[in-house]
C-alpha cells in the first residue's frame, strides 16, 4: 500500500459536463446494482469497479446521449463479472431473473427517483425514537447486532423494529406517490 505504482500517461481530461453527469449518477448506479445483488456491501464494491470502467472509457461516451443508460450498461456487465467471481460463496438470483430485474428497475427509474425524494420527507415524519433507531441501523458499518447492543434490547426485537419502520416508510412513500401516479 505504501508505493503508488507508476501512473499512466494521460491522453485527455474529462469535460466538466461528464464529471457532473458522473457525480449525479452515483446513487442511481448504486441502487441499480443493489437491485441485482441485494447486498449493499457487494453493491458498493461493484460500484467502484464500475466507476473505474466509466472513468477509463469516458472518451467513448458521446455527449448528448443518455449517460444513465450508458453507465447502467457498464454496471450490468460489472454485476455479471462479480457474480461469476463470487458464485460459490453467495446466493444470487439466476442470470435470467437478474436480467429481468435490471430491465424492470431501469424502466421504473423515474418512479423510483420520486420515491427516493419522498423517502426523505417520510423519514422526517417518523417518531423521533424510530428515526434515531433506523439511522443507527444504517450508520456506516453498523448492523442489527451493534444497534441491539447500543440500545440494550434483544436482537430479535430490534429486527422487528427495523422491519416495522421500513414498512412504515414504504407505506408513507407509496401514499405520497399516489396522486402523481394516478
Amino acid at each position: 500500500m505504501s508505493s503508488v505504482p507508476d501512473t499512466k500517461v494521460v491522453r485527455a481530461v474529462p469535460t466538466e459536463e461528464f464529471v457532473q453527469l458522473f457525480s449525479r449518477s452515483q446513487r442511481r448506479l448504486f441502487l441499480h446494482i443493489l437491485a441485482q445483488v441485494s447486498n449493499p456491501a457487494d453493491a458498493e464494491e461493484i460500484l467502484q469497479d464500475t466507476n473505474v470502467v466509466i472513468w477509463s472509457k469516458f472518451e467513448q461516451f458521446q455527449q448528448g446521449t443518455n449517460f444513465i443508460a450508458w453507465s447502467f450498461q457498464i454496471a450490468n456487465f460489472e454485476v455479471l463479472k462479480f457474480r461469476d467471481k463470487r458464485r460459490s460463496s453467495r446466493l444470487f438470483f439466476t442470470d435470467e431473473l437478474c436480467d429481468v430485474i435490471a430491465r424492470e428497475a431501469e424502466s421504473m427509474h423515474d418512479d423510483l427517483d420520486l420515491r427516493r425524494a419522498a423517502l426523505n420527507e417520510c423519514l422526517q415524519k417518523l417518531r423521533p425514537q424510530d428515526r434515531e433507531l433506523i439511522e443507527n441501523r444504517y450508520a456506516p458499518g453498523n448492523k442489527g447486532k451493534g444497534v441491539a447492543e447500543d440500545v440494550g434490547r434483544p436482537i430479535n426485537s430490534v429486527y422487528q423494529s427495523f422491519g416495522r419502520i421500513r414498512k412504515t416508510l414504504y407505506e408513507c412513500v407509496s401514499r405520497r406517490l399516489k396522486p402523481s401516479v394516478r
Binding site: 441502487l31 443493489l34 449493499p40 464494491e45 429481468v100 424492470e104 456506516p140 458499518g141
Partner: protein
C-alpha cells in the same frame, strides 16, 4: 401500485434478506416469488431501493471511509438533484475531477482495498455469521451433554455450525471479500464427514439451536421435558407402531442412564415391529387401505418389509417403486404403479409427485397453477414418463395357458398429447423439472426419472422425506400440509429442513439415521402439555408449527389394533398363527376405511374420533374379546395374581395408558371395586373384583388418552 399487505410473506423474506438472516432455502423461496409474480418483483425493487437509499444517504453523513490524501474542501460541482446528503462517491468524484484524471483513477483503484480493510475492522464482530447469537444462547446442549465420551464431537459440533467463524480464527489476516456477505451458504462447508455419520450430535445440536431460536423469536417458552412414561409410549407408537407393555414402561422409568432415550430408540429400530410398522405406513401411502382394484398388497408389503429390514437407502426404494417392471409376484414394487395406472396414468403422476416429492400437481392437470408457477405442461411432461409403462396381460412362463398381469414398458414414439382449457391439443415430452429425459441404453424413462430425482446434495425427494418423517414423529410438518411443499408453501424452519436434508443425503438416505436425529431432537423430548408460555403454538388453529411441545396425534387404526393386542395380550384369541392374526387385523381395518373413486384414487380414514368409531371401539368384537376373563389374557393374569387391589389397578393403567393411575382415579376405582364386591366373600368376591377391573380396563381402552399419541 404495489402494497406490502398483498405480499406478507415477501416482505418478511425481504426483511430477513436485508438483515442478512436469510437461509438458502428462504432465498430460493424469495427467488421463486420474485420470478413468478410481476407485482412481487416490483415490490422487491421498490423495497430494496428504499433499503439502498437509506444505506446510501446515512453512509454519506460519515467521512470515515474517505481517503485522507484527497482534499474535499474544494466542492466545485453544483448541488446534486437528489435531495438528501452527500455521498462519499460524489465527493470522491468531484475531488478527483479537480485533481485530474490520473489521481482519480489511482485513488479509485487503490483506495478500494483500504476501504475493504477498514470496513472489515469496523464490522469484524458482526460480519462473521448472520446468526452468531444462536450459539451463545445454548451453552449447554442436551445432546452434547449426553454424549460426553465422544471427545472430538463436542468440539466439532459448535465449530462446524459456524463455518465462517472458523475461517476467521484460522486466518485473521484474511481480507477475503467473501466474509462481507449476506448469504454465506451455510451448509457449504468442509466439515469432517465422520462427525455427521457417527451419532450426529452436531446435526441434532444444529436442529435444537434453530428451534430454540424460533422460540425466542416468537417469544414463547417450550413445554417442559416429557415425563419418561409419556415419552416411552410416544417413542413406541411412533417407531414400532404400538404401545409398550406395562413391564417395558416400568423398566424404562427405572433406567437411570442419561442416554436411555437414545438407547431405547436404537433398540426399537432393531425390533421386528419397526419393519412391520413402516411397512404398514408406506403400504398405506402407496396403495391405500381399501385395496380396491387388483392390487397385490401382500407382494408390496413383502418388498417394503425387505427394504426396511435391510434399511435400504430411501432413494433406492423410490427408484425401485417408480421404475418397477414385471408382475407383483416377481417384483413387489410393481404393485404401486399397477394400482395407479388407470385413467391415463394421471393418478400415478399425481401420487408420485405427492408422495415422493411433496408436490401437489393434480390441479395443474387441467390448468396452470393459480398460486405458483407450476404450469399445465409440467404436469403432462411428467405424466408422459408414466405413459411409457402399461399393465399388460401376458402368458405365464410356467403355464402359458394362463395369463398374468404385469407392468411392461412400451416404446413411446413421439410425444403424448393433452388438451388445454381452450380445447387445443398440445404435445408433451418426458421431462422432470425442466430436464428432458430420453431412454439411454439399458435405462428407460422411469429409470432416468429416478436418477434425476435423487440428483444433487439436497434434492426435493430427500426434502420431502424429511418433511414426512418430521411430521410422523412431531405431529406437524414444516409446511401446513405435509405433502405440499410447492413454491407457495411457507416452510416454518427452512434451515432445519435444509440441514436434515443434506445430512440425510450424505448418510446415503439412511432412514434409521434420520429417525435417530429426529427422535433425539429437543422438540421430541418435550411434553405435549400446553403451558402458559406457548399457547400460541397450535398448528390446529392454522398457526405455523413452532414445535415448542409435542403435538398430540391420533393413533391410526393399525396402531389401535396392535396396541389393543399389546394391552390385552389377547393375540391367541384371534388365531393361532401369524397369518390368522393379520387376517383379523385387515378385516377389522376395513370397517374404518372408505374409498372414493376420484382421479387421485382417494380414500378416507374414518378413524378420527367420530361417533361410529367410538361405537366400534366400545361394542366391537375386538374389545369385547380382549376383555374376556379367559386364560392367557392380560386381564386374567392380573386378576389372578397375588397382588393388592391397588397394584392390580396400577398394572391395568400401565398396560393401557403407560402410566400410573392418578390419586383420583385410584380412589374412584377402589370405590368401584368395593361396590362390586359388596358383602360378597371368597371366590365370589374374587369374581367381583375381576369384574371391577374389567370395567376399568374397558374405560381406559375407550378413553381419549388411549387413542391419542401424546
Amino acid at each position: 401500485m404495489s402494497n406490502w399487505n398483498q405480499h406478507p410473506e415477501l416482505v418478511e423474506l425481504l426483511e430477513l434478506l436485508i438483515e442478512e438472516r436469510l437461509s438458502s432455502a428462504q432465498f430460493a423461496q424469495l427467488e421463486s416469488l420474485v420470478r413468478s409474480d410481476a407485482a412481487a418483483r416490483r415490490f422487491y425493487i421498490e423495497y430494496m431501493d428504499l433499503h439502498g437509499t437509506l444505506h446510501w444517504n446515512t453512509a454519506a453523513s460519515s467521512d470515515r471511509f474517505l481517503p485522507e490524501e484527497v482534499d474535499f474542501t474544494c466542492d466545485l460541482a453544483p448541488a446534486e438533484t437528489a435531495p438528501i446528503g452527500r455521498s462519499r462517491y460524489k465527493q470522491l468524484a468531484i475531488a478527483t475531477a479537480a485533481l485530474g484524471l490520473i489521481l482519480a483513477v489511482t485513488v479509485t483503484v487503490f483506495n478500494k482495498p483500504q476501504n475493504q480493510v477498514a470496513k472489515q475492522d469496523n464490522n469484524a464482530s458482526q460480519q462473521i455469521d448472520p446468526a452468531p447469537q444462536k450459539n451463545s444462547t445454548t451453552p449447554n446442549d442436551l445432546i452434547a451433554n449426553s454424549t460426553p465420551s465422544k471427545g472430538g464431537m463436542s468440539e466439532g459440533g459448535p465449530v462446524e455450525l459456524n463455518p465462517s467463524r472458523t475461517n476467521h480464527t484460522d486466518d485473521p489476516n484474511s481480507t477475503s471479500k467473501n466474509d462481507n456477505t449476506a448469504f454465506v451458504v451455510q451448509t457449504d462447508n468442509s466439515k469432517p464427514s465422520n462427525a455427521a455419520t457417527d451419532t450426529g450430535a452436531d446435526v441434532v445440536a444444529y436442529v435444537n439451536d434453530q428451534l430454540r431460536q424460533s422460540w425466542d423469536d416468537n417469544e414463547i417458552k417450550p413445554s417442559p421435558r416429557a415425563e419418561d412414561s409419556e415419552w416411552v409410549r410416544r417413542a413406541y407408537l411412533d417407531t414400532v407402531g404400538h404401545i409398550p407393555t406395562g413391564e417395558q414402561v416400568k423398566a424404562f422409568v427405572a433406567d437411570k442412564r442419561a442416554d436411555k432415550r437414545a438407547r431405547l430408540i436404537n433398540t426399537l429400530l432393531d425390533d421386528e415391529d419397526y419393519i412391520r410398522n413402516w411397512t404398514t405406513v408406506w403400504a398405506n401411502l402407496l396403495i391405500g387401505r381399501s385395496n380396491p382394484r387388483e392390487v397385490n398388497r401382500v407382494a408390496l408389503e413383502k418388498f417394503l418389509r425387505n427394504s426396511f429390514r435391510q434399511n435400504r437407502g430411501w432413494d433406492d426404494v423410490v427408484a425401485d417403486v417408480i421404475s418397477a417392471e414385471g408382475t407383483p409376484e416377481e417384483n413387489g414394487a410393481a404393485s404401486f404403479l399397477m394400482a395407479h395406472l388407470n385413467n391415463e396414468a394421471v393418478p400415478a403422476t399425481a401420487i408420485t409427485a405427492k408422495l415422493f416429492l411433496c408436490q401437489q400437481m393434480q390441479c395443474t392437470q387441467c390448468h396452470d397453477h393459480p398460486f405458483n408457477d407450476r404450469r399445465q405442461d409440467e404436469f403432462w411432461s411428467f405424466n408422459s414418463i408414466f405413459k411409457e409403462v402399461k399393465v399388460i396381460d401376458r402368458p405365464r412362463a410356467d403355464n402359458p395357458k394362463l395369463n398374468e398381469r404385469a407392468l411392461a414398458n412400451v416404446r413411446l414414439d413421439g410425444p403424448t398429447f393433452y388438451e388445454t382449457r381452450n380445447g387445443l391439443m398440445k404435445a408433451a415430452y418426458p421431462q422432470f423439472e425442466g430436464t428432458r429425459i430420453a431412454p439411454e441404453g439399458e435405462q428407460d424413462l422411469r429409470g432416468g426419472l429416478a436418477k434425476l430425482m435423487s440428483e444433487g446434495d439436497a434434492p426435493q425427494m430427500a426434502r420431502a422425506f424429511v418433511n414426512r418423517m418430521w411430521m410422523h414423529f412431531l405431529g406437524a410438518a414444516f409446511t401446513a400440509q405435509v405433502d405440499d411443499m410447492g413454491p407457495h408453501a411457507r416452510i416454518s424452519h427452512p434451515q432445519v429442513v435444509d440441514r436434515l436434508t443434506r445430512e440425510f443425503v450424505r448418510s446415503g438416505y439412511d432412514v434409521k439415521q434420520l429417525i435417530r436425529w429426529i427422535t433425539q431432537s429437543e422438540p421430541y423430548q418435550l411434553s405435549s402439555r400446553i403451558t402458559s408460555g406457548n399457547t400460541v403454538d397450535d398448528p390446529a388453529t392454522g398457526n405455523e408449527a413452532l414445535f415448542s411441545r409435542a403435538y398430540v396425534k391420533t393413533m391410526t387404526v393399525e396402531q389401535v389394533f396392535d396396541s389393543l393386542l399389546i394391552a390385552t395380550d389377547a393375540r391367541e384369541l384371534f388365531g393361532s398363527t401369524w397369518e390368522a392374526v393379520e387376517q383379523k387385523r385387515s378385516e377389522w381395518l376395513q370397517q374404518f376405511v372408505m374409498a372414493f373413486g376420484t382421479d387421485e384414487n382417494d380414500e378416507a380414514d374414518l378413524f378420527d374420533g367420530s361417533i361410529p368409531q367410538a361405537l366400534m371401539m366400545m361394542n366391537g368384537e375386538l374389545v369385547q374379546l380382549s376383555l374376556q376373563n379367559k386364560r392367557g389374557t392380560y386381564l386374567e393374569k392380573v386378576a389372578h395374581s397375588k397382588q393388592s387391589d391397588d397394584a392390580k389397578i396400577e398394572a391395568v393403567a400401565l398396560a393401557t395408558l403407560s402410566r400410573k393411575p392418578t390419586p383420583q382415579e385410584l380412589a374412584a376405582v377402589r370405590k368401584l371395586i368395593r361396590d362390586h364386591v359388596g358383602q360378597k366373600r371368597g371366590p365370589e368376591a374374587q369374581a367381583a373384583t375381576t369384574a371391577g377391573l374389567q370395567d376399568l380396563f374397558w374405560a381406559y381402552l375407550n378413553s381419549n388418552e388411549f387413542i391419542l399419541i401424546h
